[in-house]
């Protein structure tokens, strides 16, 4: 079995956790107790340097964790599409795809690189923002198109999938677009209007102003994904996270009144946005 996952820092590995929502999913979905996880490395633009679908055993379980900090939907889309068609080309199809969509204003830029010919850099409100992030309405419109194309790809090849719109899309664009009704909302973990980020901030399900999930957030995402995939078998949260980890996260969440109070206004949680929220309105 092959489970494929992509997304940004809200899915990617950090030093703070050993288990993320995608790992909980893998434990439930896999028919064997163990699985091998692989971090596909850069190289998606020609050959996957460390993932060869031909060499993946059909008798083993794999979790491909492609998520990375700062990723844009441009790159998530490009990589996911290539991964899926590569798995089909090699006759070793991905069994499940869990795709977390990132902030719609992020984008991908290529720059020349002496060693690798080209380097892919993330342009988002935190990194390389001077290169220009995407603006609305195009930003949300293009991400909607990405959703549609990937939806079509998964349906055509009978790959069960889940989309996690972690960040909310621009509500004005969603009101105006004529493409929203084409999206199969039964495969979304939440509404595109809301996203998870603001809700998690409000409920103490995240660990910082940028809205990165804590153990409660990860567990909830895993539950929602499994619900969409119609799979039972998730164990109580205590099985996945130690008492110390839970206490630490809960204590931290208790102290984050600021994040709860400004859950809607914090956006990407950049230093500018945090500063703005802290500045009293005169």
């Amino acid at each position: 079995m092959i489970i494929y996952s992509n997304g940004c820092s809200h899915t990617a590995a950090t030093i703070d956790y050993d288990i993320y929502y995608i790992d909980i999913l893998a434990k439930v979905l896999n028919n064997k107790p163990s699985y091998e996880w692989v971090n596909p490395t850069e190289g998606h633009y020609n050959t996957f340097k460390n993932v060869d679908f031909n060499s993946l055993s059909k008798n083993k379980n794999y979790l491909l964790k492609h998520a990375e900090h700062g990723k844009s939907n441009d790159l998530i889309f490009f990589e996911t599409y290539n991964m899926v068609i590569d798995s089909i080309r090699c006759n070793n199809k991905i069994d499940y795809a869990i795709i977390q969509f990132s902030g719609v204003n992020r984008r991908l830029q290529t720059i020349p690189d002496v060693d690798k010919d080209v380097k892919l850099i993330h342009v988002n409100p935190h990194d390389n923002s001077h290169l220009g992030v995407k603006l609305e309405p195009f930003a949300s419109e293009q991400s909607l198109q990405y959703l549609l194309i990937l939806q079509e790809l998964f349906k055509t090849h009978n790959i069960p999938y889940v989309f996690i719109p972690y960040m909310e899309f621009d509500n004005n664009v969603l009101e105006l677009t004529d493409k929203l009704h084409l999206i199969d909302t039964t495969r979304l973990t939440c509404s595109l209007y809301d996203g998870h980020r603001t809700d998690f901030r409000k409920r103490g399900y995240c660990r910082d102003a940028a809205g990165h999930p804590n153990y409660r957030g990860y567990y909830e995402l895993a539950m929602k994904c499994l619900d969409i995939l119609n799979k039972k078998g998730i164990k109580p949260v205590e099985v996945y996270y130690s008492k110390e980890k839970r206490m630490f996260d809960d204590d931290l969440a208790e102290k984050q009144d600021f994040v709860k109070l400004f859950s809607k206004n914090l956006g990407d949680g950049t230093s500018d946005e945090i500063e703005k929220c802290k500045t009293p309105i005169i």
Binding site: Y45, N46, N82, T110, D117, L135, P137, Q145, I149, T156
Partner: protein, 275 residues
């Protein structure tokens, strides 16, 4: 009949800034008669959804030429618009009969101004914003071709791809997905493109390699052939008048000499070749 087309200035009728010079118009004229179709040219870009769905009020017995090609366009934008156009037609229950997609330079991309309008980044315009670099540029375009091919096949739209500019041969040789592309729908192969061949034959009106009358006529025939209309091309002089046609320009010797080195024919490249 509804024909949808997209591309850059090489489809736009750039030599005289005249839509009717484009091979798309010759193609349609050959099939349904000159001036016997309605052209809808979107022209300068809107903010997508602010325009009403143009397939909503199409008359059933009229032939339509929905022509989205415009100056400076990237394959990013060609994919984005074409995908939206096809879905808009499907939503209204309208069948696009033929799609003619001219692929542009792979290093181009789209950006946006402070008002959210889309702008083009290419070697001539807004280059300071950074065009795409190889090999990602080529691999992006390959993915875009596969997406559009699958879209057209799904909705039973007869389609043709015109790779006007050559793709990077090194990047192409490394792309693992080329065998997923149906090259029988292409007017030429990706390694060569049309641009250098047209320059060599002097079927261009400028150093950029914009097609002149003969090249447009040739492309119209190619498109007709791929749609299995082998003997339908209208007579050259039935379409163009003798006052239309100017075969040579002052730079012809230079263009012919450097046909395969001119690339996007930026002022830097031209200067380099002239020195």
């Amino acid at each position: 009949m509804i024909v949808y087309s997209n591309g850059c200035s090489h489809t736009r009728g750039a030599c005289r800034n005249r839509y009717e010079d484009s091979y798309v118009y010759i193609f349609l004229s050959s099939l349904v008669g000159k001036n016997n179709f309605v052209s809808i040219n979107k022209g300068f870009d809107d903010i997508h959804f602010n325009n009403p769905n143009l397939y909503k009020n199409l008359e059933p017995n009229i032939h339509y030429n929905i022509f989205d090609a415009d100056y400076g366009k990237s394959n990013d934008k060609i994919l984005y618009e074409t995908y939206n156009q096809v879905l808009s037609a499907v939503q209204e229950g309208v069948q696009i009969d033929y799609a003619i997609i001219q692929l542009s330079g792979v290093n181009r991309r789209m950006h946006w101004d402070m008002y959210g309008n889309l702008i083009n980044v290419n070697l001539h315009n807004n280059v300071e914003l950074g065009p795409k670099f190889e090999p990602t540029a080529t691999h992006h375009s390959i993915q875009q071709i596969i997406i559009l091919q699958n879209l057209f096949q799904k909705y039973n739209i007869e389609y043709v791809f015109i790779p006007y500019m050559e793709f990077d041969s090194v990047s192409l040789s490394k792309n693992p997905y080329l065998n997923m592309i149906d090259f029988s729908r292409f007017t030429t192969n990706l390694n060569e493109g049309h641009r250098n061949d047209f320059r060599k034959k002097l079927w261009v009106c400028d150093t950029h390699g914009h097609p002149n009358y003969i090249a447009n006529y040739y492309l119209a025939n190619k498109v007709l052939e791929l749609f299995n209309y082998d003997d339908c091309l209208m007579g050259f002089w039935d379409y163009f008048s003798d006052t239309d046609v100017a075969f040579f320009n002052a730079e012809s010797t230079f263009i012919k000499k450097h046909y395969n080195k001119l690339g996007d024919a930026t002022s830097e490249i031209i200067k380099k070749l002239k020195n």
